[in-house]
Each structure stands twice: as C-alpha cells, then as structure tokens.
Symmetry: none
Subunit: 216 residues, 2 copies
C-alpha cells in the first residue's frame, strides 16, 4: 500500500469537456472512446503495419481519416499510440521477472489482440531495445554523448521520422542583470552569509545549449 498523504492540494480535476462538435452527449461522456471501426484501423496500423511511431503529421492524417467513423481528435490518436506502446512495454517488463524458475529472457510477442481478430503482431517494430539500461545519463550529465545507438531496427517501409535538424549551437549565454524574475534584487544581501544554493546546480544546467545569443 502506499500512503497517500494528501489532503490539501487543490484538486485540479482535469477535465476535457471539449466538445468536438460532434459529440454525443457533452457532459455525460467527455472521454473519448474509439468506435469499432476506429479501433480496427488503429490496431491495423499498429499491429499489422508495425506503425508505432507516428509523427505529428501522421497523427493528423490518421485522425482525419478516422473522423468519418466518429468523433475523434488528434490527441486521442496520439494518446492511443502512446498508451499502447507504453503498456506493451510494461507488460514485457513484468514478464522479465520470470517467476518460473530460472533465467530467461526475451520472449516477446504477446500482443494482445482482442476484439478485432486481425492483429498479427509483426513485432519487427522500429526501434526496440529498451530494457537494456535505458538510463545512462543524468538529466544534466556532463557529456552530450552523441553516440546515438542504432535506432534503425529494420523498418520495411520507411522511416517514420524523416526530418532532422538539431542544430546544436551552444552559446555562452550571458548572465542576467541584477534583478531576478520576481522583482527582487539579488544583491547577495542575505546578511553576508553566502548565498546559498548554487553549489551544484549551475554547471549542470548550462550545458543544455540554450539556443539564443542575446544580450541586453
């Protein structure tokens, strides 16, 4: 169990009363649910085609297409893919702790295909390879390792993400002026006791290459 100590926060009920204009009953049901045709198409994309990383453009395209089968928005498509990927990943991860005896390992291929029946699960996805120490760098580690591991798994059709620019222009980035964003003066007038917390933070953040170059 987890001690959920919470009581005083504002409860931001995140609601999404967006009425796409074609909603069935605003207020009664504000959560999107795929219609059968929509679900079939989505699954077809995901499983049959191994289409798992739609670009924003493709998301829109899919969404547009799906609109003829019911109200839907881009974000629904987006989340659908995200969730499906995440949950499959999660399932695999659970599996890795094989309670059955000894060691073992990959054995992936448990794509559940529920209602539609046509999911074939060609698991040749695009870039798979999580599960092998995905975390190797700290948020602000001191080395921008450009050794991007091969993401090219073996896409048969095309790359789902073609463009790339990534111009890394690291600039010196000038410090600010005297006053802080809150309007206070940061004149170290804390009583001479040294200005606290800038012991580690400063250099960690700076290598993030803020793209700018300005000065007042």
């Amino acid at each position: 169990m987890e001690p959920r100590t919470l009581q005083l926060m504002e409860q931001q009920t995140q609601q999404q009363i967006e009425d796409g204009g074609n909603n069935q009953a605003a207020g009664t049901n504000n959560r999107w649910a795929p219609t059968p045709p929509q679900l079939r198409i989505l699954k077809g994309l995901y499983y049959d085609k191994g289409f798992k990383y739609p670009t924003p453009e493709q998301i829109q395209e899919i969404c547009l297409h799906l609109k003829q089968y019911g109200q839907i928005e881009d974000k629904n498509v987006f989340f659908w893919f995200q969730n499906l990927k995440a949950r499959e990943r999660q399932k695999l991860k659970e599996f890795r702790n094989v309670p059955v005896g000894g060691s073992l390992d990959l054995n992936f291929g448990s794509t559940s295909s529920t209602d539609d029946g046509r999911s074939i699960d060609l698991n040749f996805g695009s870039r798979v390879g999580y599960g092998v120490d995905p975390y190797s760098s700290s948020p602000f580690n001191t080395n921008t390792s450009t050794t991007s591991f091969g993401t090219t798994g073996g896409q048969s059709f095309m790359e789902q993400r073609g463009g790339d620019h990534q111009e890394i222009e690291t600039l010196p980035l000038f410090p600010m002026h005297g006053e802080d964003i809150f309007g206070n003066m940061k004149t170290t007038s804390e009583g001479g006791s040294g200005y606290d917390g800038n012991s580690r933070i400063s250099l960690e953040l700076s290598l993030n290459s803020y793209k700018d170059a300005d000065m007042a």
Copy 2:
C-alpha cells in the same frame, strides 16, 4: 505490477504527493509534483509574464524561490519549462502542418487503395491564428487548470532573452511518397461544417503577485 487499489473515485487529487511544508519519505515517491503554490508561480511566470526561456541562473532563482512552497530542485523547474514549451509548441505545430501525410501505405482492409494519391491536404483550415488556445485537438495540453490562470496567453508578447526564439518557420517537409497511410487521398472533405468548431476561449486573469498565498 502491483495493482494499486485503494480509494476509488473519491480522490480527485492529481498526483501531488509532495506538498510544501511537510514532505514525506522521498523513497516512496520519487517524482516531483508541483505544489499548488509552486504551480501557480510557475504558471504566472510562463503565462502571465511570458517568461518562457529561463536561463540557468534564472532557473536557480526560481527554484530557490519555490523552495519555500515545497521540495523542489533545479531540474524540476527546468523540465517544467521545457515540457510546457514543448507541449505548447507541438500544439501549434500540428496546427500549421497538415501537409502531405505521405507515408506508408497501409491497406489492411477497408479503404480502397487508390494508389497514387499525392494527398495534399494542406489547409483544412478553419481557424487561423493561434492567439488563445487555438487547438484543442492536439496531443497535449488542454489546459488542466481549473482554478488558476487561463491557458495560453498567446505565444509571445515578450521575450526575456532578446533573441528571437520562436520564429515561426513553416518547415518544408519534403514528402516522401504520395499516398497517405490509408492509401486514400484526403480530399479535404471538411466542408461538413465542422466537427471541431470549438472555440475555447481562455481569458487569462492575471494575478498580481507570485509571492505567496496559500492554496485553498
């Protein structure tokens, strides 16, 4: 995984297990969540002041300031801004790019494969101009705050870093193929008077001080 049962349907509280003042075991919950005051301040900076590109120094400063409202680290502030920017931008981006989806030809079933398509559907436009939460059908966001500010105040009324960051450049995006994912041509059949005529207005009530104030 452990099925976290526990209280149901009554806890609308988001996920802020960490509250200012009394923090609990950091081992149970490792993910930072802004406390209401922190969130208010951050949003105030971002939306109300248009403060979107904090320098590392400013991040420190903000963090320092926010520490009185709960445990927080620099990287949290950093990520917060970065995520918000990214998600807001993605929204805008999808809004303006509706180019050829061009990709993949999927045809698993329905959709007559009218091969060849060159589906250029740009400009399915309905609304132009992204002043205030222009898009509700984007993957992200949707303004979760019920109590605080409105969302999105435009995208740039003031840059605190001089440079011109958000240059809206319509990326070229060379199409790869013609047909869309479904093999159809999307002929801009948006004439249907619109499923998404949503006009989500979001007025932004400006708050006066980002200093304190307890949450309700």
